[in-house]
Symmetry: C2
Subunit: 278 residues, 2 copies
DNA sequence: TAGCTAAATTGGTATTTACAACAAAAATGC
DNA sequence: GCATTTTTGTTGTAAATACCAATTTAGCTA
């Protein structure tokens, strides 16, 4: 390892700039540092290889800040599924309701959907990505106190659950690390306590999980299936699981990508296939 | 009324997409909608005119939400000043202290500096950007409850101030919209209340402001100068202001870009013999 | 239905960016 | 000191994008 302040310093400053603006142009950086565009290009390629930023034509864009560390291939692959789940879940709400939203990637998607719908809600959450998503909407946003966990992008702990008990919601949306006949499971003990509190403070509770969570047995059981009023997912669970859910009185909503597509772009493209070579 | 779903629908969807990813390419949008790149180009230009997004070569980037609109090239000039201020302010802390950090761009810079320093602190803040900056550090992070304000990227309100009174900090760092002989000023009433609480719950209070805040008279006076133990800024205030500060017992720390640069280079090559770092 | 108007496409050209190979310069190691 | 490695600059070419203007298409109105 050599000590070259030149390149490293540029790299650090590029990332610094990208914390304040989502996009920088190569020409801008080149003139700022007094180096050639080629050098900047190489810098950006290197940083892109380290997954610290994303390349764009003529520049670079900052990585989305929601939840950074755990974006593995599997997570990325199910992005569309989660959108579909969120879209379906959003329909369970009515204007004016008080809703509690758990921290998680799928629940964050739900928040974006709710913001897009434009319904005026009162949202209580422990997740900053959720708050950020809803920020521009007409809804009122109440955030919980607690110890900040960067991995989850939210707050947890005794303060969080204490604060939540002051409220009463019409409906709660929670996520989970696993779903088995035994109940709802999660890897994070603090998160589990928050989920239990959300469940106890809401009239109805819906679980949002994609199919990769089925039969995942992890650290801690959050609650039995019977606490749920419904689950929203992207594929039908196994027959055994479905029976269990039915017995526990849990409604199962299957979200399909077609539904969201047809709803969003009611009239997308004609049969004229265009040569989209990309 | 308007029965023109074509263009408007595209516009809405483009903005929708930009909420999920900070950058979209024209070619991507063109193939997605089944239209020509020219059409997308016009769409982006129109949306850019409405200031709903920013153009980039070959695509568009989402507007940053947390921070104020004008983050253009000129604004980036003050980024360096804020970095210097934050760097100087960070030296006022000692390991193990309890510190309260206000919401704001300069205080967010401070948080990044503290995280880089690696000191183990207990940080109490109402700002999500601050929390996120410190997230990877060894510090404990406590976040306040309250109503989420997207523009500031933090929480405010009665819940926030109530929660803060439960704590006692060694030192508080606050920002402001203006600084005059009358005292500290801010445009946001809720933010002003949070600042007052931070001041009252800390042994010492330091104000972090760049020189553009001097003589800015805005909505509300947060507090008189006398509540401060010091200010950290990038240029010396006017003589009249300096006298006032001195009379009020406020220490003035001037942060220079040279200081931070020399600190960086010293860190980079400290094994070599002491060379004159101009 | 015809005509009007906004929107979308098409074609052509100028500009910008990307990519790769190589040269120059600086730093590093011996 | 000299060779080696790393970094940066330069150049030429290909590709992608932007811009402009004319034409076609589609939606709407009278």
């Amino acid at each position: 390892m050599s000590r070259k302040p030149r390149k490293d310093e540029r790299h650090a400053q590029i990332l610094e700039v990208l914390r304040y603006t989502p996009h920088v142009r190569i020409a801008t950086l080149a003139s700022r540092f007094g180096v050639t565009a080629e050098t900047i290009r190489r810098d950006l390629d290197a940083l892109s290889d380290q997954e610290l930023l994303d390349r764009a034509h003529g520049g670079a864009v900052a990585r989305p800040m929601g939840i950074q560390p755990p974006i593995d291939e599997r997570e990325q692959a199910t992005v569309d599924e989660r959108r579909a789940i969120a879209h379906t879940a959003a329909r369970l709400l009515e204007p004016g309701q008080v809703v509690m939203i758990d921290a998680g990637s799928t629940t964050t998607q739900l928040a974006w959907q709710l913001a897009a719908n434009g319904q005026a809600l009162t949202v209580i959450t422990n997740s900053y990505p959720v708050a950020r998503a809803m920020a521009s909407s007409a809804s009122r946003l109440i955030l919980c106190p607690g110890d900040f966990n960067a991995r989850e992008g939210g707050v947890f702990g005794q303060d969080t659950t204490d604060y939540l008990t002051r409220f009463h919601a019409n409906i709660a949306f929670i996520g989970a690390s696993g779903l088995t006949p035994e109940g709802i499971l999660d890897v994070n003990r603090d998160a589990a306590w928050v989920k239990r509190t959300l469940i106890s403070r809401s009239e109805r509770t819906y679980l949002l999980v994609d199919h990769t969570k089925f039969a995942q047995t992890v650290l801690e059981r959050v609650a039995p299936l019977s606490v749920l009023d419904g689950i929203v997912t992207d594929r039908a669970p196994s027959d055994a699981m479905t029976q269990r859910l039915e017995r526990a009185g849990v409604a199962v909503h299957i979200a399909t990508l077609e539904a969201i597509d047809s709803a969003l772009s009611a009239r997308a493209s004609d049969t004229t296939a265009r040569e989209d070579t990309a």
